[in-house]
């Protein structure tokens, strides 16, 4: 009988987004990745602006700034600020937790099992709440004319 190869069953990059009904921390990981990539994209555009356009003199600079006063770009700038705040605060949470600092000690498992991340979930929720509050504060700034 010919030996058949087992069929590949990997979720691939789609598995980062959806692999089943998981809880908060997995989606924080996904959001951290998405905001990171978004900030990277913004960073590339921003670098081009502040190098090529800045060095070409006043006219090029002022016409670029004039384009950026368009409401679409202002909304984009606000989203960049919120993305940065989320990425930074979640990053600080990750730094602490990835070195095991706020996760507590290993305990012999007694049913129903509560793993370290779920026990410390209140901290993750607090961070999301802080991001939410800052998003509202920056929204005030954004609406009142600054950009």
């Amino acid at each position: 009988m010919k030996q058949r190869q087992p069929r590949q069953n990997y979720l691939g990059a789609g598995g980062w987004v959806w692999a089943g009904k998981y809880k908060l921390e997995r989606y924080l990981y996904l959001l951290h990745r998405v905001t990171g990539l978004g900030l990277l994209l913004f960073g590339i555009i921003h670098l081009i602006m502040t190098t090529f356009f800045r060095i070409q003199g006043q006219d090029v600079w002022e016409s670029t700034i004039a384009v950026l006063h368009n409401p679409v770009f202002k909304v984009g700038a606000y989203m960049v600020v919120v993305a940065f705040v989320f990425h930074a605060l979640n990053g600080l949470r990750l730094i602490l937790q990835e070195f095991g600092f706020t996760l507590g000690r290993p305990i012999p498992p007694v049913y129903p099992y509560k793993d370290a991340l779920r026990k410390k979930r209140p901290w993750a929720v607090i961070i999301i709440a802080v991001v939410g509050i800052l998003a509202v504060v920056f929204l005030y700034d954004f609406i009142s004319g600054g950009w």
């Binding site: 980062w16 692999a19 099992y113 370290a116």
Partner: protein
């Protein structure tokens, strides 16, 4: 005692036969279930009464061997450990564990996971090779030292954490939460002296640093092993080593068996006299 009612549950099972080729497809069965019927009971009912070609792994049927891991209603469970009643639904979807290749129907290929497990040297390593080959004494270990790693020693190698991990979904070379948690379990064992060797395996491009603390492995683990905690503690060891912070820890001492024993109690008389 009230009679528990028997419901008819629809089992949607993913079928795949490599000898017939083609893509995986669904097949629906109707299984009677009452209070206490597990998903594994349902699958055995299907195999015995409806379709004997259904392939799945099972052994202990009590949640300790790790054979029957599968995706039930989009979440990885041990089938023997999962009551049909807990889903409060008349339809159940059963699929093989993702991120592991399918051999047939619900049977997946666990070889990559075992290969990764072997690569982190899941055994006690000590400098004294002679003692390891022909042991003459015990290694001293107090209960507090045991508790430092005992939780991670409960792993039954079912593969559910590997299926839950988002990194394992795309990265074929990733060691996986099971291997990394066991790497920490052995490094944290005070009887072990092999931390240097193991950290070298975890320190690679597809080692511990590709874990991004999604926490899905600990969430899905059916034995409460909490591999995520083990991996983060492993990262702490890696960082201490890289920064040169960790002092040399004394491995456990060797304790000879006691020479003074209590006086032997005489074997009691048989209460039932043997037939002559």
């Amino acid at each position: 005692m009230t009679e528990s009612s028997t419901k008819q549950i629809a089992f949607k099972v993913q079928r795949y036969d490599p000898e017939q080729g083609g893509a995986p497809h669904w097949q629906q069965f109707t299984v009677p279930s009452s209070r206490g019927t597990t998903v594994l009971d349902g699958l055995i009912y299907i195999k015995e009464n409806l379709d004997s070609t259904l392939a799945f792994r099972t052994s202990c049927r009590m949640g300790i061997c790790g054979s029957c891991g599968m995706l039930i209603n989009s979440y990885p469970h041990l089938a023997c450990h999962t009551q049909i009643e807990e889903f409060h639904s008349n339809t159940l979807t059963v699929r093989p564990l993702p991120n592991l290749s399918i051999i047939k129907d619900l049977v997946v290929d666990l070889t990559p996971m075992f290969h990764n497990h072997k690569s982190i040297k899941p055994y006690i390593l000590r400098q004294d090779a002679q003692e390891m080959r022909t042991p003459t004494s015990e290694f001293a270990q107090i209960p507090q030292e045991l508790n430092d790693f005992l939780q991670f020693a409960y792993c039954i190698k079912c593969g559910i954490c590997v299926s839950a991990c988002p990194t394992s979904a795309s990265d074929r070379l990733f060691l996986g939460p099971q291997a990394l948690a066991q790497c920490y379990r052995y490094c944290a064992d005070n009887r072990d002296e092999g931390q240097q060797e193991r950290l070298r395996v975890a320190d690679t491009n597809h080692g511990a640093w590709h874990c991004h603390l999604a926490g899905a492995c600990s969430e899905a683990c059916p034995k409460g092993v909490d591999p995520a905690l083990a991996i983060q503690l492993l990262k702490r060891r890696l960082a201490s080593q890289a920064l040169g912070l960790r002092g040399k820890r004394q491995a456990s001492s060797v304790v000879s068996p006691p020479t003074q024993t209590k006086p032997k109690i005489p074997f009691p008389e048989f209460t039932v006299k043997g037939s002559a």
